[in-house]
C-alpha cells in the first residue's frame, strides 16, 4: 500500500471510529462496529454494514438476527472518550467478551454509560431470520440478505455459515459469506441457492457473454433482476 493509500486509510479509520447516531435522550452518540474478518470486507458477514475494508462507524441497525453478534460503542456529550455500553436485558441480548450476542427475539435497550451510570439508550429489536433476499450486486455478483418477518434487514454477524450452491455444474459459485461471484460459459443458466441455517432462497441466473470461445467468467452476469429472483424462489428454491 502506497503512502497516499495509508493516509486515506488513516482518515477513514478516524471517521469510522466516530459514533454517528444520537441516543433517544440526546445525551450522547452511538456507533456500530461491524464484525467481519479483517482485512476482509465486514459487509460480507454483516448485512448492516456498508461495503469497505474499514467497516466501522455504521448506524446501529434497528433489527439484529437471533444468534448474531455485534458491537455498539457510545460517547457521551459530557466526555471526549468512548464509554462502555450494556444491555437492559441480558437474557435477550447478552454482553460477552466485549460483544453483544442476540439470544432470543425481543426488544432491548442498549444503554450507553457515563462515569459508570446509564446515560442514554437506543432500542434494538432481535428477530429470527424469516427469509433471505438474493439480489445481483454487480456484474457476476450476488448478495444474500437475511430478513425478518416484516422484511427488515437483520444486522449482526450471523451464527450460521452461508452456503451457496448451483444446479448446473457448468456455472461456478465462489462465495465469501453472504456474497458470491458467479462464473461460467456464456449462455449457461442455473438456479443458485443461498442458505444460512435452515432458511434458504434461490435465484435463476444466465451467464451473458459476447464470444463463444470463452473468456468465460469475467463477464458473467445475472440477467435476473431482484424481483425475478424472488419469483424464482417461489418456484421451489426457498426450502433448498
Amino acid at each position: 500500500m502506497g503512502k497516499k493509500n495509508w493516509t486515506w486509510a488513516a482518515v477513514l479509520a478516524l471517521a469510522a471510529c466516530t459514533p454517528i447516531e444520537s441516543g433517544t435522550l440526546g445525551n450522547g452518540k452511538f456507533g456500530y462496529v461491524c464484525m467481519g474478518q479483517f482485512p476482509n470486507d465486514a459487509s460480507n458477514f454483516d448485512a448492516a454494514c456498508a461495503p469497505g475494508i474499514l467497516a466501522m462507524g455504521n448506524t446501529v441497525p434497528a433489527q439484529v438476527a437471533v444468534g448474531a453478534t455485534f458491537t455498539v460503542t457510545y460517547k457521551s456529550n459530557a466526555t471526549t472518550g468512548e464509554e462502555p455500553t450494556f444491555s437492559a436485558a441480558p437474557s435477550i441480548v447478552a454482553l460477552s467478551g466485549g460483544h453483544f450476542e442476540a439470544l432470543r427475539p425481543g426488544v432491548v435497550a442498549i444503554i450507553g454509560t457515563h462515569k459508570g451510570n446509564a446515560d442514554d439508550l437506543l432500542y434494538v429489536k432481535v428477530a429470527k431470520i424469516a427469509s433471505i433476499k438474493i439480489v445481483q450486486s454487480g456484474t457476476g455478483s450476488l448478495e444474500a440478505t437475511p430478513l425478518s418477518s416484516d422484511n427488515a434487514t437483520l444486522g449482526g454477524k450471523l451464527a450460521c455459515d452461508w452456503q451457496w450452491s448451483t444446479t448446473n455444474s457448468a456455472v461456478q459459485v465462489q462465495s465469501v459469506g453472504r456474497k458470491a461471484t458467479v462464473t461460467g460459459l456464456p449462455g449457461q443458466s442455473a438456479q443458485v441457492f443461498a442458505k444460512c441455517g435452515d432458511v434458504g432462497e434461490s435465484i435463476v441466473i444466465t451467464i451473458k457473454g459476447q464470444s463463444q470461445d470463452g473468456g468465460g467468467g469475467s463477464d458473467a452476469a445475472s440477467d435476473a433482476p431482484s424481483d425475478s429472483g424472488n419469483d424464482a424462489a417461489k418456484d421451489g428454491g426457498s426450502d433448498a
Partner: protein
C-alpha cells in the same frame, strides 16, 4: 415559635414530581412516573424526568435484579432499567420519599 419554624421548613421544602408517561409501541407498553404502580417490560428501558429537574433524588429497588434506576449526565433525567420480569418496590430518596410498586412483564 420553634414549632412554627419547623412547620414552615417542611411546608417550603421542595416538592418533587415525576413526569407521568405512557409509551406504547404495540405489543410493548410502559406506564410509569407520578403513579403508585409502574408497568414496564423486560429490557425496554425508559427515561424518567423529575420536576424540578434540579431536585436531589436517587432510587433503590428492593430487588435490583428486577429494576434499576440511574441518573444520566443530564440533571433530573433518569433511565429506568427493567432487567428481568417480576415485582418489586422502588424507593425514591432525597427530596422525594415516595415508594413505587414496579411490575416488570416478560417480553411478549
Amino acid at each position: 415559635m420553634r414549632k412554627l419554624f419547623f412547620l414552615l421548613a417542611i411546608g417550603c421544602g421542595p416538592t418533587v414530581s415525576f413526569e407521568e408517561r405512557t409509551i406504547a409501541s404495540q405489543p410493548i407498553t410502559s406506564t410509569y412516573g407520578n403513579i403508585e404502580t409502574w408497568s414496564l417490560t423486560e429490557g425496554v428501558a425508559v427515561a424518567l424526568t423529575t420536576r424540578p429537574n434540579d431536585a436531589h433524588v436517587s432510587f433503590t429497588a428492593d430487588d435490583s435484579t428486577i429494576v434499576r434506576v440511574q441518573e444520566t449526565s443530564e440533571r433530573g433525567t433518569f433511565i429506568v432499567i427493567p432487567t428481568s420480569p417480576g415485582t418489586t418496590k422502588l424507593h425514591a430518596h432525597g427530596d422525594s420519599q415516595r415508594i413505587f410498586t414496579v411490575n416488570v412483564k416478560a417480553q411478549p
